[in-house]
């Protein structure tokens, strides 16, 4: 074997504390090294060209570059090696910048360490083998999980690009949180006026199949070829017959059914259409409250329905869909403020409500018909306090992060309060006003300057009913340096957000990571914000972190672009750094099958004997199987036992 070694100076980044010339000189003595040199910038065009030239000139079989982290430039140099006519896996990198020159002060020690890392790379390269990708077909169909504004955007963009889309929504109607909002900042335009048309587009798009009341239950397969089981809960209404006339709602006797859509601000009926613009505009029955389904008696809706759409015998069903990519857009939920904020009443005070509940009070389609009325006595409040950061930036309850959009909607709600009740006064208790978006700060200034909202910089310590129907809100005006208090009629809490309920379970189903707050983890927080670490699974909207509407829509389009890009290729290439089985050594014990996190290994009967077999497109290359097999029968290409042992032996030989 003939190996070429190229040591990069990275300007003075490496050469400043490593004697690159000496490292190159030392490398000449390593086994199989036929050429060794140093260069100012290996990643530059001349640097790369030099590799190509030398491979040809010295007839090299493999290349070692000692420069920055392989996480930075491994792909760059692999392409260069490929240009030189070698297999791109006949290449190794020694990280002498991040791991040597930037962290060590002693030039001798650094130079020695750099040489050793080069030697390790050479020893590993001597055991490398050319690897070849396989190509495989993809299914030109995408699954979008969650039909809030981000999911809707992703679904529409994909569908418009000609892909088939399966859109799955847990609730009876699409629209997510945005459908519950009255107006939106910073323009104060009506939420349903801008979202409504998009929802209609979803229902009418020929490329979109919509499953409401549905959840993803199981996902198998791999990028380009996923198989998804979708569980659809029985609506007890035949959608093909229901016209959405609403007659059933008028007559349903179960009038105390909790109203999820209205954030429990009022009751609804057991059979209902959540809101007038609902898509699909079909009635569904809440089986927990329907008298027919719980007690066996009633059946009024079936009698009244003019099209005979009611069917109490309907059962949950499981639908299987084959898709090539998946977009998770499951959004957020409010954190559980009641168990964490006893000082705000912990849910005991009826007139201390969440901002999402307040949206429903503001909405003309809401339980109060758009009149702001106190839940306790139905009176119109004249003084309203808004409290920011309830469940955000509070590490004492394990919520260290900023929920991002509360400052803005709080300003919006203060403005709307004044619009609804001109003689009202709003107080906003905030810690910092976070308004970095386009036209955002101008908007908060308007709330203060034009609408007379009183902003007080301080976290509220306690809300205490005064026994006379009002609530004393106690805070400090930290700008004044004094405790302050104000008696108000209604308190609105800007409750922090977390990943939607059940997001952890979905993450495990999708094999993606999630954090302690139920947010899904992106591949790279800055550079790969819509990708996940599982190929073919993308993220849109607040499921990845708190986001306002513009960002959610942008990320929805971003995820769609990634999906379209992925599925536009005629075929996909697999990564050849995967496990493979030496059939002769395998005794068929199946330990690798048991531990594989991706179900990528199966047991096959090969000529009467049970042997492990790797499904190439499913294997992600973690190497857990290789560490498990006692006889070393399964090896991870590019990280074989012998390759790692060679590195160990290069460092420790006695």
């Amino acid at each position: 074997m003939k190996i070429g070694v190229f040591i990069c100076h990275c300007g003075s980044n490496i050469a400043g504390t490593v004697d690159c010339v000496k490292v190159a000189k030392n490398a000449e003595a390593f086994p199989d090294v036929a050429y060794s040199t140093d260069n100012m910038y290996m990643c530059s065009e001349p640097g790369q060209d030099h590799i190509v030239e030398m491979v040809k000139k010295h007839d090299l079989d493999g290349v070692v570059v000692a420069s920055c982290s392989p996480r930075m430039h491994e792909p760059t140099f692999r392409r260069a090696v490929e240009r030189a006519g070698l297999n791109k896996y006949m290449f190794e990198m020694a990280n002498i910048r991040e791991h040597v020159s930037w962290i060590g002060k002693d030039k001798d020690a650094n130079t020695n360490k750099a040489s050793e890392l080069v030697r390790m790379a050479v020893e590993k390269l001597r055991r490398n083998a050319p690897l070849f990708s396989k190509k495989f077909e993809t299914i030109k169909k995408v699954l979008v999980v969650g039909a809030g504004v981000a999911g809707i955007q992703a679904a529409l963009d994909c569908a418009d690009a000609g892909l088939q889309v399966v859109l799955v929504e847990r609730e009876p109607a699409i629209g997510g949180k945005m459908a519950k909002l009255d107006k939106t900042f910073p323009t104060v335009d009506c939420s349903s006026c801008i979202l409504g048309p998009k929802m209609v587009d979803v229902s009418q798009h020929p490329n979109i199949t919509l499953y409401t009341l549905s959840e993803v239950e199981k996902v198998s397969g791999y990028v380009g070829n996923f198989s998804v089981n979708i569980k659809r809960r029985a609506p007890y209404v035949d959608f093909s017959k229901c016209t959405g006339c609403g007659a059933c709602m008028e007559k349903c006797p179960a009038k105390k059914t909790p109203d999820r859509f209205n954030e429990f601000m009022g009751p609804t009926t057991a059979i209902n259409i959540p809101f007038p613009q609902a898509i699909p505009k079909k009635a569904t029955i809440n089986p927990q409250y329907c008298r027919k389904l719980t007690e066996g008696k009633c059946g009024i809706c079936a009698k009244i329905c003019p099209t005979g759409a009611i069917n109490y015998e309907m059962k949950d069903e499981v639908i299987t869909e084959e898709v090539g990519a998946i977009v998770a857009a499951t959004g957020y939920d409010l954190m559980d403020w009641k168990s964490n904020y006893g000082e705000y009443g912990g849910g005991r005070y009826p007139d201390v409500i969440t901002s999402l509940q307040y949206e429903r009070l503001l909405s003309a389609a809401g339980p109060t018909g758009g009149h702001i009325l106190r839940p306790s006595d139905g009176r119109e409040p004249k003084k309203v306090a808004f409290i920011c950061c309830v469940g955000s930036r509070d590490r004492s309850i394990g919520r260290p992060y900023c929920s991002g959009f509360c400052c803005m909607y709080t300003a919006k709600q203060a403005v709307l309060t004044k619009d609804h009740i001109p003689d009202s006064q709003s107080y906003v208790f905030y810690m910092d006003i976070r308004a970095p978006g386009k036209l955002y700060d101008e908007f908060t200034r308007r709330a203060i300057e034009e609408y007379g909202t009183e902003y007080i910089r301080g976290r509220v310590s306690a809300i205490q009913p005064d026994g006379k129907g009002q609530y004393i809100v106690r805070a400090a005006d930290t700008l004044l340096g004094k405790p302050v208090e104000v008696a108000v009629d209604l308190v609105v809490l800007a409750v922090g957000v977390e990943g939607a309920k059940g997001s952890g379970k979905l993450a495990e189903t999708l094999h993606i990571s999630y954090d302690n707050f139920g947010f899904f983890l992106e591949s790279h927080i800055k550079l790969r914000p819509v990708e996940t670490n599982t190929a073919g699974v993308f993220l849109a909207g607040s499921c990845q972190g708190a986001k306002d509407i513009p960002s959610s829509v942008a990320q929805g389009s971003g995820a769609a672009a990634k999906v379209i890009g992925l599925l536009s290729k005629p075929k996909l290439e697999s990564d050849p750094q995967i496990s493979n089985v030496n059939i002769k050594r395998c005794v068929g014990c199946g330990k690798c099958v048991d531990v594989c996190p991706f179900q990528a290994i199966t047991k096959e009967n090969i000529r009467g004997e049970i042997k492990a077999q790797v499904i190439e497109a499913v294997c992600q290359g973690c190497g857990l199987c290789a560490a498990t097999c006692p006889q070393g029968a399964i090896q991870l290409s590019h990280f074989t036992d012998n390759q790692i042992l060679a590195e160990v032996n290069a460092l420790c030989q006695c």
Partner: protein, 508 residues
Amino acid sequence: MSVLTGKELRIVGFLCNWCSYGGADTAGVARATQPTDLRIIRVPCSGRVNPLFPLKALLSGADGVLVSGCHPRDCHYSAGNFYARRRLELLKEFLPIVGIDPARFHYTWVSASEGPRWKQVVTAFTDRIHKLGPAPKFQDAVPSYDMPDLAPVAPLRNLSCGANPALEDLKKQLKEALSDDHLFCVVGWQKSFDGLHATPLHMRKPEDVDKLIWGPFNVHSTANMIPQLVNDAKAAAMVGVKRGDPIPPAKKIGVVVKGCDGKWLVELLQEKLIDRDAVEIFAMGCNGTVSYDRIIAKIGAGKRIDSVEGNGDTLRVVADGQEYSLSMKDVAQDKCRACTVPNAPVYDHFAGDPVKVSEDAKPEAAAILAYLDGLTLEQRMSFWRGAIERCIRCHACRNACPMCVCREYCVADSREPHWVTQEDTPVNKLFFQLIHALHLAGRCTGCGECNRACPMGVPVGALKLHAARIVRALFDGYQPGTKLEAVPPFLGYEVEEKNIPEHQIEGA
């Protein structure tokens, strides 16, 4: 190439590509100054780190080894670090038995964003290794040839060597089973060249059953022949079958088992190396077996055994015409003294009454472990340095082991992978024994055949006993071979491990 003498020590790191390698990069980007000793090997996942890699490094001259992966729950491959945690914890606790300071091995979790934390970990671990100084080298250890005179521990129950009254019942069951030709053969024991030794018995016809013996001399394990016999039975069934014909069912293999045989049988079944349908198990309660070494120690070596007779606790041996009266208390095998499973956990036929063991019987630590525990790390290294010199690499230990299922594909004999070289060095010889012990962790049923088979008297069984007690402590008393449906500890994980602490380095 070597470490800078006097300045650096040899520290090897295994870092997962996604989190910790990224964390080390992040520290670099932030120009977080660190000691220069560490050399990082990049692996895709901490789950890729076979504990044998760090072990190999430590045996080959590393002064410290550091493994770092993604934080639990954050694994790029969702669960690799959970498996790694169990395996690396085993290694950490295993090291001191051969005299390696477990402080020289550390595993931790660092994410790609935790540059400052990476700096702390490297700095603190390097400090620790510098405080410990250069690691003692196994090949340079002063060999100690002291083999302690280990007093056997008291048995948990009464052991006896008298005739088992249920033997006739067992024979009757065997004859019945053999009469209808559904068994390929039944494996048991028969008398060998003298009364003391037994040899395997293959019963094919009812009359073969008369040769079956049962008692204190059924010492050797018959495990190794079972998978082969299962294959033979399959092959026999295929005789005369033409291509395209339906495959006829194979006959079953009968196995006569004591409690301890029952355990390796459960392990083989659990590891799916034999099908439950392929074997028919004949069990009987066991009252203990003898140790040849102990008997020979009593009567003297080189004598011809004339006759042996057991009665209750007393074993009457006539050798070279002289009579010796021995007690089972003195001559029983160590494993029988600590045995809590005298009856096979899984069987098809059971003869006689099961032997009872009190439920709260807790075996004492084996004498050899108690002895090793009393030594310093340095003394332990000397002990093994001396003991391993005797090893002639005959691999009888491996060949006798019921759980060495790799057979001809043992990594000791392979170039691909090339774990063990053919060099005749103490390190190489020890490394093979350590591989054997770690491969058996969570699987070893404690049959003691490795020790018995060793012609050179190397106490290799101690390594497996040590691994087994770590497994018991980490996994709520897990005992291999007692439950067919159990998940072996190293093939599973818990998100929150009850008994595995988060290891800290002082100062990090």
